[in-house]
């Protein structure tokens, strides 16, 4: 077993995959806590879908995939924020803006793919995830993005929590509600771009929502919930990568399945401890 692991980490592509996976898990675990708290899973889903044209466009124009993902995901986060957020957060305006942006960009992705006329395998990886193609440069770029995003989150974390839980009270306490809500969508875009590199655009929730939702079942303290959420995201990524390496099953399927099992177990644990 030890030998097998030694061998695994002697491959640079596995080193890259673990570095990128670990980075994405930490970012997604923490950002995911706020996604669940704010009930912004739909916005998250849209930014994830936007990852498809982002990555496809990057391939078409010969850019690194992560650059395309990050640019389009953060830009869409800004767009959703700008269209959907008035002085007060309006869920209806927001969901209408989200749906509009999602449909348009998905079509854009389709256009990029048909223009590229390349191998469909690339599209498959964009949608459902792959870890074979992650280069050292991509992994390091991902690390840089995550460090910046987490640094911003450390600065805005407490007021963001206040706004997420009780906007009117936070506004009265002088918290810039609108700026924080838009800022969070940009961070969400970065987290999703990072996650999509591993899980694919369609399975981003495996790291972004499942660990945070499971953590919410297990603990009720915000700080602790973020730690548990991050730990679960790491378990999901690492076990997904290992199983994928040894079985050749697709990584997107594995992380999602591990995440799903963890979520179910967390719900069951809460049900049992309550009774």
């Amino acid at each position: 077993m030890i030998d097998a692991l030694d061998q695994l980490f002697s491959y640079q592509f596995m080193q890259n995959a673990f570095l990128a996976g670990t980075t994405a898990a930490v970012l997604a675990g923490i950002v995911g806590y706020f996604v669940v708290l704010r009930g912004e899973a739909f916005a998250g889903h849209t930014l994830a879908v936007v990852g498809f044209p982002g990555a496809a466009g990057a391939i078409l124009f010969g850019l690194p995939q992560l650059v395309g993902l990050a640019v389009l995901c953060t830009a869409s986060g800004l767009g959703i924020g700008a269209f959907g957020q008035g002085a007060v957060r309006d869920r209806h305006a927001e969901s209408a803006a989200i749906g509009t942006i999602q449909a348009f960009l998905l079509a854009l992705g389709f256009l990029f793919v048909s223009l590229y006329k390349g191998l469909l395998v690339g599209v498959y990886g964009i949608l459902f995830g792959t870890f074979l193609g992650i280069t050292r440069d991509q992994a390091l770029l991902l690390l840089a993005i995550a460090v910046v995003a987490l640094a911003v989150l450390v600065v805005i974390g407490r007021p963001l929590l206040y706004v997420s839980v009780d906007g009117p009270a936070a506004a009265a306490a002088g918290v810039p509600v609108r700026a924080l809500s838009i800022g969070f969508l940009v961070l969400l875009g970065l987290a999703i771009a990072s996650t999509a590199l591993i899980t694919g655009a369609l399975l981003v929730f495996a790291l972004l929502v499942m660990p945070a939702a499971a953590a919410n079942e297990l603990v009720v303290r915000p700080g602790l919930a973020m730690i548990v959420s991050t730990a679960l995201a790491l378990v999901i990524v690492w076990s997904g990568l290992l199983i994928s390496y040894f079985t050749d099953l697709p990584i997107g399927f594995l992380v999602t399945t591990v995440g799903f099992v963890i979520y179910l177990a967390a719900r069951l644990a809460r049900r049992l401890t309550r009774a």
């Binding site: 708290l37 974390g157 009780d166 009117p168 009270a169 936070a170 009265a172 009720v220 915000p222």
Partner: protein, 280 residues
């Protein structure tokens, strides 16, 4: 925005709240005008009146979130934006999402430092004092027993106590509450009102509460601000809630009926414009 200490009070006799000929418009529409009133420190005052008359708007103006279009407003002798640290505020709210998995005391904590940048470090100095202050304020509102439960699982009455604790945690000198009794049963309405009175008496906090129905709080109140017809009057409940005063305010014939147990009912010719102070 640190809470100012009590010895910063300018002079004896400074009003907690002073409006002179104050007017507010929103989107070109006048909400109220020519409002002149004075609330003394430590008073318990209810803001009454029909829906849409500007009761919440008055609170927004006191908080400095909405500028006056005419006249002046002073909170403890200062313009509202300089008095923000002296105010605790409960926005109008029926409930939180039942799935909100956050302890009640975490919500109180947000009232203490939720508006500050950065995140609290686990073993930072001062953390113990914050925890002590939160325990203290939970005790004041009688919420210690359920402060560890998730917010989403609290009853309406329990939640209001937690929200009052959150508004009090930074030792404000004035507590502004927007319809805190809405959607509570009668027993809880009276319990929250006597809590507000106790906070006035023992903590010396001025309480201004927007209310829909005066009856559950009538026995606790010092004075009422009655808003109608684009203006407002202030006085003791028995002075203000009278047929003559309200008829003048509404500019319509209004009758105030008093039941044998002392409850008040306001009845008018334009029922759609007038709130009936009866129990729903």
């Amino acid at each position: 925005m640190q809470a100012a200490t009590h010895d910063q009070e300018a002079a004896v006799g400074t009003a907690a709240l002073q409006l002179e000929d104050a007017a507010v418009s929103r989107g070109g529409r006048s909400i109220f005008r020519a409002v002149t009133l004075r609330v003394e420190p430590g008073e318990y005052v209810a803001v009454l009146g029909p829906n849409g008359v500007g009761k919440s708007t008055l609170l927004q103006a006191i908080l400095g979130l909405l500028p006056l279009t005419a006249g002046s407003i002073e909170v403890f002798g200062r313009p509202p934006h300089q008095a923000a640290g002296l105010l605790g505020y409960l926005p109008q709210r029926r409930s939180f999402d039942s799935s909100l998995r956050m302890r009640a005391r975490d919500l109180v904590r947000l009232g203490f430092d939720g508006n500050r940048w950065g995140v609290p470090l686990p073993f930072a100095p001062g953390g113990r004092e914050v925890a002590k202050r939160i325990d203290e304020v939970l005790e004041v509102v009688g919420a210690t027993a359920y402060s560890g439960r998730p917010v989403g699982e609290l009853s309406g009455g329990e939640l209001q106590r937690i929200l009052i604790a959150r508004a009090l945690v930074r030792r404000p000198r004035m507590l502004l509450m927007d319809e805190p009794l809405e959607s509570l049963d009668l027993g809880n309405q009276q319990a929250i009102s006597s809590l507000a009175r106790d906070i006035c008496r023992t903590e010396g906090v001025t309480v201004i509460m927007v209310a829909h129905d005066v009856n559950p709080i009538l026995g606790d109140l010092d004075r009422v601000i009655y808003m109608a017809g684009g203006s407002a009057v202030i006085g003791r409940p028995e002075e203000v809630i009278t047929s003559e005063k309200l008829s003048a305010l509404y500019n319509a014939h209004i009758e105030v009926l008093r039941t044998s147990d002392g409850r008040l009912f306001v009845v008018g010719q334009q029922p759609e414009a007038i709130s009936y102070h009866g129990h729903d």
